[in-house]
């Protein structure tokens, strides 16, 4: 599996305010969710990946092109769906979409033909000749998706793709994104606050907090949905106890203050836990059921409840 985005020690500051403080990322193919609270550096990271901003330190590659030296190539093969409503007054959707296809390097007639296709795909086929000013919020959202995919990008950046949408519209946009990312070998990076959207579309997640990567990995691995997470503190020899836990299928991470995070398979009983403690001759001094959802993971990663 190839690496689509590779960043090393990326730093960026707006004046004295540090937005990114040493980001290291390697994103593999597939759909990746970019999560983080406001001010975490998500938008700054997206802008650096698009080449809008030059990092003050560090290096990076997008689709194997250098983010400092090969911006036109990156922008040619990347599609970008911004968070804000974007339009050009006086245009209809076909002309608008074809126009941005042409600016991406498509021949004019091909861009026009392709614009019709992607507008039908995005669900705007019937209203593709309407003036953009008359579009509803949901239609504008679909239009942004259409202009982002008109040139058939290899990598798609989606910034809050489901904002301003009603539940049905949101579901339809998510289905389109799933279709694009799962079956059409287009890599997708989604920046969103809606964790359920990320969960439904992405297999990989990066959580940013205060300009740093707070957590990253496969959602399934991070969440360990089939596991119950416990936080445990013990007195005694930990190694033997940890080995026994691993033998029954638990994953054990050691945190600060000798805290053990134990991911226990769902089929296991809590009594197994205490039985192993007795066998390993350790005392359990702290035992708390902990986070298992992406929300919990997010909250934990960014340090909020």
């Amino acid at each position: 599996m190839g690496t689509i985005v590779s960043l090393k020690n990326i730093h960026f500051s707006y004046g004295r305010v540090q937005a990114l403080g040493g980001i290291d990322l390697d994103l593999a193919e597939g759909a990746t969710g970019l999560l983080g609270p406001n001010g975490a550096g998500k938008s700054t990271l997206l802008r650096i990946l698009l080449g809008f901003l030059a990092p003050q330190r560090g290096e990076g590659r997008v689709l194997n092109y250098d983010i400092r030296l090969e911006l036109p190539q990156i922008r040619r093969y990347v599609g970008y769906m911004p968070e804000d409503d974007c339009l050009i007054p006086g245009m209809d959707a076909v002309t608008f979409t074809a126009y941005f296809g042409e600016l991406s390097g498509m021949p004019r007639q091909e861009a026009m033909k392709r614009a019709h296709d992607v507008l039908f795909y995005a669900g705007l086929g019937e209203s593709r000749y309407r003036l953009l000013e008359t579009y509803s919020a949901g239609m504008k959202q679909r239009l942004k998706l259409a202009q982002a995919i008109v040139h058939d990008p290899k990598l798609l950046f989606l910034d809050e793709p489901t904002s301003n949408l009603d539940p049905q519209g949101r579901q339809e946009i998510l289905e389109l994104i799933k279709d694009i990312s799962s079956r059409k070998d287009i890599q997708v990076l989604i920046c969103s606050h809606i964790l359920s959207d990320i969960e439904s579309v992405c297999s990989y997640v990066v959580i940013l907090n205060k300009g740093r990567v707070a957590a990253q990995g496969r959602i399934s691995e991070l969440k360990q949905l089939k596991f119950r997470l416990y936080e445990v503190k013990i007195k005694g020899e930990a190694e033997g106890f940890i080995d026994r836990l691993k033998n029954i299928g638990c994953r054990v991470d050691e945190a600060e203050d000798k805290l053990l995070k134990v991911y226990m398979p769902a089929e296991r009983e809590i009594s197994d836990f205490f039985r192993l403690a007795v066998e390993a001759n350790v005392q359990i001094r702290h035992f708390v059921r902990s986070q298992t959802t992406l929300e919990d993971l997010f909250a934990k990663a960014v340090g909020v409840d």
Binding site: F52, I88, L103, G105, M106, Y121, L176, D179
Partner: protein, 289 residues
């Protein structure tokens, strides 16, 4: 099977860098301008002086046929550099150019700022200069059609009506003067309009600015000149500076006894300020929402 049912399909073609990536921006700008009815009215109205001068050239060559109309005032119909200077520097033409800037140029950048489309442009393989060149070329198209095009057409028609090249041999530098003055006027108006268009997200406000700055600078010049009788106050007026440049290019006595290079300096300074502001404003949109 509909496109929706079929799902997403790949495009078979290949994305290629183009020699003039700004061209679609220009084409769209011109097309959108012509969609406005009032713009068509202004634009075609701006050609009235050109037609009048063209008729003047014809009459000047058939003066004996139009004696009943001219009644001895043949001097005004002499086709010479003064005739050209009068066309290029007349108040009506400059006023109509400002109206065209107002109608076609006010929204060039301000609409992109208002409707957030600038980020869509910059997410494409376009450089900032491509974006700005594309926008400026919209204005270049309209302004050239009122300056360089009629100027050269006048020369061609003068030669055709005269049936000889004596006019060109008398003033061989005239085509260059037409091109040079057209370039100065067009370049200045492009920077002027794009600067003001980048200052606000409100197109109407920009339109008012384009008109008001041009008019107010002239009113200010008149006010100071009347009170202090100093011709140097002509440098305040955008119109007067352009007319000074016209007089220089067409080798005529300037309307104000002020050195032409001072007027050129004023215009260049405005263009430089515009370039700096544009550079910062376009960058500013990229960095801070």
């Amino acid at each position: 099977m509909t496109v929706r049912e079929k799902g997403y399909t790949h495009w078979d073609g290949e994305l290629k860098p183009t020699r003039h990536p700004w061209w679609p921006i220009t084409r769209l700008g011109v097309k959108l301008a012509f969609k406005k009815k009032y713009f068509k009215f202004i634009y075609f109205g701006a050609f009235v002086p050109a037609f009048a001068f063209l008729v003047g050239i014809y009459i000047s060559e058939r003066i004996e046929d139009f004696q009943w109309m001219v009644r001895g005032s043949t001097k005004i119909l002499e086709v010479n550099p003064r005739f050209f200077n009068y066309y290029f520097s007349n108040d009506f033409l400059l006023f109509m150019m400002v109206m065209i800037l107002l109608a076609s140029g006010a929204g060039l950048i301000s609409d992109d700022l208002k409707y957030n489309s600038l980020q869509l442009y910059l997410a494409r393989p376009l450089q900032k200069k491509d974006y700005l060149v594309g926008k400026a070329a919209v204005l270049v198209f309209f302004l050239f059609s009122l300056t360089i095009l009629p100027g050269l057409v006048f020369i061609v028609f003068k030669l055709l009506f005269a049936g000889n090249f004596s006019f060109l041999s008398s003033y061989p530098w005239l085509p260059l003067a037409v091109v040079g003055y057209s370039l100065v006027v067009t370049a200045f108006f492009c920077f002027y309009t794009l600067l003001l268009s980048s200052l606000s997200k409100n197109k109407r406000y920009v339109s008012i600015l384009i008109f008001a700055v041009y008019l107010f600078s002239d009113i200010l010049h008149g006010f100071f000149y009347e009170n202090f009788k100093q011709p140097a106050f002509a440098l305040i007026s955008l119109k007067a500076n352009l007319q000074q440049m016209g007089a220089f290019f067409f080798r005529q006595k300037p309307a104000y006894p002020v050195a032409w290079y001072l007027s050129l300096l004023i215009l260049i300074v405005i263009c430089l300020v515009a370039a700096i502001v544009l550079r910062r404003k376009i960058k500013g949109v990229e960095v801070v929402k």
